[in-house]
């Protein structure tokens, strides 16, 4: 059984169809990179996985549970799936450590001490333990994103979703975030990553999904995606983002 399984998922905003019959799956331990031009539905697709975006047709199974089903306890499901956002979305009024502790205490029911221990270990891992008492506004973008990754990992997720995690970062900060993600991938974390960082895809992805206008146009192993001749649409896209 796949960890994440899309079966003909379709979604509309009013009359406009943003996802068309999307079918794919993510096995346990796999790293899937989702790319495509802006407005192609990548972010929407990934947000369907934890129910942040509802969809109208098709079925989406995560860890054996149907996301679209009314019976599914969404908060419980979401607690098992970490998510990292383009704009970090740390809670500005809480210190870094409090950001990591919040859901551990409120959702998992860990004690404050237990949560803090876990949080400190993760902050050490992403190289930010010295910043634990600071507030998000006092950190650089790259640091904030690493905190956001640590916040997601604090929940001991079975899979991680990344929604353009480096798009809002200054170029010199992209690598510090990618390094953390690469390490995570190499440890066997199941990951679904929306990104234009093809270097990251080359390094750790198992498969690359290419989307255009709400459709999954290409879904290929990394070697096939970068190695063999793809459709004209994919070639055009790659030539645009691989100019250096």
């Amino acid at each position: 059984m796949a960890m994440i399984e899309f079966k003909n998922v379709s979604k509309w905003y009013g009359k406009f169809q943003v996802l068309k019959d999307c079918t794919t799956n993510v096995e346990k331990g796999e790293v899937i990179v989702v790319c495509g031009p802006s407005g192609s539905g990548k972010s929407t697709l990934i947000k369907c996985v934890n129910g942040l975006e509802p969809f109208q047709q098709g079925e989406l199974m995560v860890n054996g549970q149907s996301v679209g089903s009314k019976e599914t306890n969404l908060p419980k499901l979401r607690a098992k799936i970490g998510m990292v956002f383009q704009n970090f979305e740390l809670f500005p009024h809480m210190s870094v450590i409090a950001n990591l502790n919040l859901a551990q205490v409120k959702v998992l029911g860990r004690s404050e001490a237990e949560a803090t221990e876990k949080s400190r270990a993760l902050l050490t891992r992403v190289g930010l333990i010295d910043h634990a008492p600071k507030f998000p506004g006092q950190l650089s973008g790259g640091q904030q994103q690493r905190v956001a990754i640590a916040r997601a990992l604090a929940m001991d997720p079975i899979a991680m979703l990344f929604d353009e995690p480096t798009s809002a970062l200054d170029p010199e900060m992209i690598n510090e975030v990618l390094d953390v993600m690469v390490e995570l991938a190499q440890e066997g974390m199941t990951m679904m990553v929306v990104t234009h960082e093809m270097g990251f895809a080359r390094k750790v992805a198992n498969r690359v999904i290419f989307m255009d206008r709400g459709e999954i146009v290409d879904d290929a192993s990394k070697d096939d995606f970068f190695g063999t001749t793809r459709s004209e649409r994919v070639q055009l896209f790659l030539s645009k983002i691989l100019h250096h």
Binding site: N50, L52, P75, A79, E89, F91, K106, F135, P136, M155
Partner: protein, 241 residues
């Protein structure tokens, strides 16, 4: 200007005219603070309800706001004082007219409180809605339920954002409390008017009343500046440092 009349024995009540001023200050403070408690609690609840996407919560809250903020405060006072006893069941109405202690005081508190609540509601709503959708998504993604998202993410930031307009609203309630004189609450402005009628020291007594209002409101401003400093988020855009 000669303020010596303040120490003269007042026309009635046994004290001096200065005692009348103190009584006025007492009622101004009582009406305003009691009304603020109502305005802040009811306004917060309404403001939060207006941000939910549950129509049967949002709808009534919207209706309340549009009804209460579009009626002049003076009319609110008259409705609570003169009309309400006639609209409620007869026994209750009779009690309100004859048995209830300090009917004009409570009418003023309810009128001012429920009117100001409609304004507080809009400020709370704008605070919550100014927080980007991404914050809610991030909080939900960690497994928090919607009420928890409000409690731990949206409200702490939302209230911080609207401290400045809420300060204005808190100041306004002290000034608006003077409207209570129309239904017979002997608050500061009413006392000043009465004293002026007995002593013809119109200029002096209204100067004094003005100074008292300014002192009260400046105290509120200082208090709210302290609150603002205490809750300031380090490094957050818009807090100025």
């Amino acid at each position: 200007m000669d303020f010596s009349f303040l120490s003269e024995p007042a026309f009635s009540g046994g004290g001096t005219y200065f005692d009348w001023v103190l009584t006025g200050i007492k009622w101004t403070m009582l009406v305003s603070l009691c009304a603020w408690v109502i305005a802040f609690t009811v306004g917060s609840v309404l403001g939060i309800l207006r941000t939910t996407n549950v129509i049967w919560l949002r709808g009534p809250a919207t209706a309340y706001v549009e009804l209460f903020r579009n009626i002049p405060l003076l009319v609110h006072m008259f409705i609570w004082y003169f009309v309400m006893p006639e609209m409620v069941p007869k026994a209750l109405g009779t009690w309100m007219k004859t048995g209830m202690p300090m009917p004009e005081f409570w009418s003023a508190v309810f009128a001012l409180g429920f009117y100001t609540a409609s304004r507080v509601a809009e400020q709370v709503r704008s605070g919550i809605q100014s927080i980007p959708r991404g914050q809610t998504n991030a909080a939900l993604a960690t497994g928090l339920t919607m009420p928890q998202v409000y409690r731990h993410v949206l409200l702490p930031m939302g209230y911080r954002i609207v401290v400045p307009p809420l300060t204005s609203e808190f100041l306004t309630i002290f000034k608006n409390s003077s409207v209570a004189l129309t239904i017979g609450v002997l608050e500061l402005t009413a006392q000043a008017r009465t004293i002026s009628e007995y002593t013809f020291r119109t200029f002096e007594i209204f100067t004094l009343a003005t100074v008292v209002y300014v002192v009260i409101t400046l105290a509120v401003v200082v208090l709210m500046q302290y609150v603002e400093t205490r809750i300031r988020v380090p490094g957050y855009i818009g807090t100025g440092r």
